[in-house]
Symmetry: C2
Subunit: 445 residues, 2 copies
């Protein structure tokens, strides 16, 4: 049955036309490889550059590697406008096309702006609804933090995740729609409808602000247990113990990086239409040409990153003393400002380990892959950001284990409640984008 | 009158012998300038390197500059052991010599260790009391965070600040002494007695942990008002408003840095015995030879950094609705991981502005310099870390202004209570070392 949302979403999709095709690098316009360094950059120096990175992580199974990485110095703004009406909180969502999107259109936050859009340092058209964000400063802001993006793809990239509440009348522009929080939760159970930007911003929403709750009664038994885990005053460890564990992991898994010319990066090979790892693993850099009626510019070309295979992001969950806990990993990644952030229990491309002996496989990978259906609490395919990643879908899963599962876990892992994980997220650069987005996807935002 | 502390401290000073002399670079042993880059490094590749840095801060009065900077990738540990006895909390302090120290010996935290000392990855003598820190993990830890050091001198340097409580019998080693918290507070009013490492660790101590207070009754009227400001449930702004302001400042004052060869750094000149800025401002890189009986190695040479003049670190304080607030600055610095951290109201080398017209002088500099004695709540000379900085003393001041002083301040400044500033400090990379140390020095730790 078509819901009102489905009809609207279909209509938005029909309202635009897109053609995306992969092209060889020499058909890129304005983009090219630097003669000296081999870095891939735009003629204007704007947008982003793909350069080389030399990485050392003493504690890692592979302590040194080199890779291409996206250097995108601009801090983007991901802004969500929320408003209470008809007895429920709603978020103002945009049906937005991005070149790398699966399904072409996904639900995006109210505002996606560059730093210069936001601060209006250059003239040019202001993004829709920007005024509501600017005027809300210091009064209606309920969450605001700089957060990391994919640390294996971006060098020190940061986005500002901001949520603003309003009581004002808001004009409805084409492609925009108010979605209630319960509706968003239902959409998060579908594959590739709610985009990555929305999921990361949602993960920053507090349970309440100044006494007012943002949450409807939870729908379903698992949602109720997630809510209880967010409200629980204590967990297996105190927050101070978790901070101590996390600081220790950050110190012991130090990441050192140095920029290097892309052409000198070892084990990566550039052909006419891709830069690939010689193993076929990890990801490749490709180029695309995009034609659309839904952007100011009708056609353009750009590089994109294509994953080598489908990723798996999974939380293992377990009830401890009546409260649901998540098994959180301290994971080093090349491009993170602090090297290490909190990550899902499992975060990898499983195909890369197809032939690996058990001791070389990431901890808990087999547990998640072989979980019985009755252990699976959440399971959906979710997309990464379509402005940089080409049709990348990763499986997002939550698997619950029983009381026989050991509380004692390897040093890089720790059990924490949803409330404790949310307390880390509130501050910048503590939890990685995969952990934040999975938390939102499962409904624990 | 000599206190028992004074007698002990004098005795410790007499127990050791030190000779420090400045030498030209060509008398450095094991240290030398790289042929290609001109970087100053140790033959072993260990310790630290002095290299060049290119810095861009769009929003700054000088939007681009180049400078020498210390690259010291190791994460150091600054650990303080605390214990309650005789009705008071005490900290285990060490009388420690560092080559750059004023007065040769200063009071240092219980543990100063490198990452490899701490994790014992290399063999070698374990630092004193290390076991008490390792065994305390997850039980006795009351504070633990990675914190930045001087952002204008160090590139992305981080230290782990950790405070551990113990109930055990602790053997007293030579040079160590228990100091009660009130005694430490009194010593913080003297010039150059309590070293920088101690001050930054103290700033991380929470008011209480699990219901137990670490604080004695405040001594004096200003101390009582600082305590009230730490206990105040609310300030002029909510914490969420402060987070929003801080995120905004971090976004708007973005710092971009690139490593560069030291020999190519413009406006810095290397002579036989120093690398100086051609203006004579900022700092210089020098070399010293040290002979001592108090270290494992009897004599060594090393580079040090010498400040061009005495710095001024000052908080302006004001009572707002009966609660003391501090005027905090969001300050960009080249070497900070996130570019911007919370800083004192004034933080500069005043001599550099001696001839500057009023509009070119840092905000509030003249207010602090010209403050009447009855406005000054704290005033002492405090040293920077003697392992890297040569006899560097900065004036640490708190000046209180009256109710006629405007609440409305320039965008880079904000009023906050001690409690709110402490809440930022609890997390990594929020408040800079000058703000943390000044907070400790004034007794608001």
């Amino acid at each position: 049955m078509m819901t009102p949302f489905d009809s609207w979403f279909q209509e938005r999709r029909d309202a635009h036309r897109f053609v995306i095709e992969r092209i060889p690098f020499d058909r890129l316009e304005q983009w090219g490889f630097d003669q000296q360094t081999g870095n891939l950059h735009h003629a204007s120096g704007r947008f982003f550059t793909i350069e080389g990175l030399s990485v050392d992580v003493e504690s890692a199974p592979v302590p040194h590697w080199e890779q291409p990485i996206i250097d995108q110095p601009d801090i983007g703004i991901l802004g969500l406008l929320i408003k209470r009406f008809d007895g429920a909180w709603h978020a103002l969502m945009q049906a937005k096309m991005e070149p790398g999107n699966l399904n072409m259109i996904q639900l995006s936050p109210t505002l996606q702006a560059t730093h210069s859009n936001y601060t209006r340092v250059h003239r040019g058209r202001a993004p829709a609804y920007l005024d509501l964000f600017l005027e809300a400063a210091r009064t209606g802001v309920v969450a605001d933090a700089l957060q990391s993006e994919q640390g294996s793809r971006f060098l020190h990239k940061r986005n500002r995740n901001i949520i603003v509440r309003t009581d004002r009348e808001v004009a409805m522009l084409p492609d925009f729609r108010w979605c209630s929080f319960p509706e968003l939760n239902r959409l998060l159970h579908r594959d590739n409808v709610v985009n990555m930007d929305t999921r990361t911003v949602l993960s920053c929403l507090p349970l309440d602000a100044e006494g007012e709750s943002f949450r409807p009664p939870p729908a379903g038994a698992f949602a109720a247990r997630l809510r209880a885990s967010q409200e629980a005053p204590r967990g297996l460890h105190t927050f101070q113990q978790l901070v101590n564990w996390f600081t220790d992991q950050r110190m012991k898994n130090r990441v050192r990086v140095h920029a290097m010319p892309l052409r000198e990066v070892r084990h990566w090979v550039r052909s006419a239409d891709a830069i690939r790892h010689e193993s076929g693993h990890h990801f490749s850099v490709i180029a695309c040409r995009i034609e659309t009626t839904s952007r100011e510019i009708a056609a353009w070309t750009q590089p994109l990153i294509a994953s080598a295979s489908r990723g798996l992001f999974a939380f293992v969950a377990r009830e401890i003393d009546g409260v649901l806990h998540l098994l959180v990993q301290a994971k080093p990644e090349a491009g993170l400002c602090h090297g290490v952030e909190l990550a899902p229990t499992v975060m990898c491309l499983p195909d890369q380990y197809a032939d690996a002996p058990p001791e070389r496989r990431p901890p808990f990978l087999d547990l998640v892959r072989l979980a019985a259906p009755e252990q699976v609490r959440y399971d959906a395919g979710q997309s990464e950001e379509g402005g940089r990643f080409f049709r990348e879908e990763n499986r997002n899963v939550v698997v619950e284990v029983g009381a026989d599962f050991p509380l004692d876990v390897p040093a890089r892992f720790v059990w924490m409640t949803v409330r404790q994980l949310k307390a880390f997220i509130r501050h910048s650069h503590q939890a990685n984008v995969q952990a934040r987005c999975l938390l939102a996807a499962m409904g624990a935002w």
